[in-house]
Amino acid sequence: MSALYPDDLFYTKDHEWARIEDRAGTKVATIGVTRYAVEQLGDVTQVDLPKEGESVKQAEVFGSVESVKAVSDLFAPITGKVVKVNSPLADSPEYVNEDPYDEGWMIQVAVSNTKELDGLLDAEAYQAFIREQGE
């Protein structure tokens, strides 16, 4: 079982995460939603994502996730061009619930500006933030 809030990820206050990897000189961010988001959402039944080649902008809506009860916007943790979409989610949205940090990832983005990472939370700060939310 993966950690509730892995240390190697960046987090947003809108409950998305980003994992940054270096691929041949380009920073690629893999993006998904957190365990906390999944618990709040309940069973996910549909995920709407941008297409490859489209651009997403930090803090702006890049897609939406439908649970049984409601629909929620997804906010991009970082600006960049979408290089890959987790297409299996179209048929298996439950991956988001079952494995939000691995099989449930949503999009990969070629990062335009690594400085934007400074505005994101680390695992510790994110957990402090959600504790605050709970109170």
Binding site: G42, D43, T45, Q46, S64, E66, V68, K69, A70, V71, N97
Partner: protein
Amino acid sequence: MRRTPLYEAHVRLGARMVDFGGWSMPVSYPTGILEEHRATRTAVGMFDVCHMGEVHFTGAGAAATVQRLVTNDVGRLENGRAFYTVACLPSGGIVDDLIVYRVDPEHYLAVVNASNIDKDVDWFQEHRGADCKIEDASARTGLIAFQGPAAQDALQPLASIPLDKLRSFSFATDVTVAGLPVWIARTGYTGEDGFELFCDAQDAARLWDRLVAAAGAAGGGPVGLGARDTLRLEARLALYGNDLDEETTPLEAGLGWVVKLDGDDFIGRDALRVQQSAGITRKLAGFVMTARGIARHGYAIYDADGVPSGTVTSGGPAPTLTQNVGMGYIPARLDVPGTKLSIDCRGKRVDAEVVRGPFYKRGKKT
């Protein structure tokens, strides 16, 4: 926030509690909405409906008062039988939808929506006839629903009467379940066979615990409001506040079968007769999404030519069908199976198609 007698039990079971019209209610348990939905369709699901209202009408004038208040024909109810009905305003708009149980000729029980208890009781009192006492017993009454194809077999070992003798919309008052005195009715709100158990509020938690054990042994368990909503939507059962309100009439809502325009007089009958003879201009239609998208309460509906044609009153996934479905009021001429619609799902028009009847219908018992 108000709590039902089962609040502690829900917390102990790990439920996610939400504010539901001023009540702290379980939206789901750790099993999740989809699994709770599935369990109710395949085994048994149990529901805390203690927040619902129980209103007793007693006295020689009880039948006359109830008849004045509801659209269905009270005269055809026998002792131990119940019916679904609505109470209307003089305009024909719906005050509430409810189930009326006839205990005896001088005692009727009305079970009403939690969010409407105060409004309903005021309305009932205002229109109370001679020789009728109206008592709001909601606070002292517990109500637990036990629903699903395995409900009878799972409940029978705890029950003091043979449950197979209890027909749909029948009930029995002199019963014990797990040794506790209950009224047991073969009614529900899931589209499945099942029971609703009325008990003293003080016994509700003990009864609940025994039922949780019985449901668990049958492969089911407690179900929250989340799956309660998907279950009733699949069965195309209307929800007051979404699909029914004071601006809609039972004829528009497809509830003409509970409106007896030729029976004894009731509040709203004249208006409904006028509407009936003039023709119903809008209908609560059911639709399935034929493209990828989920309709939600409040989304706009368009006809095939893109003309605004109504608003979604209820919508969401139908887990048993793996389809997305919904309901909404549309012009009556469009309420024909196969009619193409589109739903504005957050700025995106998604195709849908009108269908007749329940989205999900349980198989006949073998």
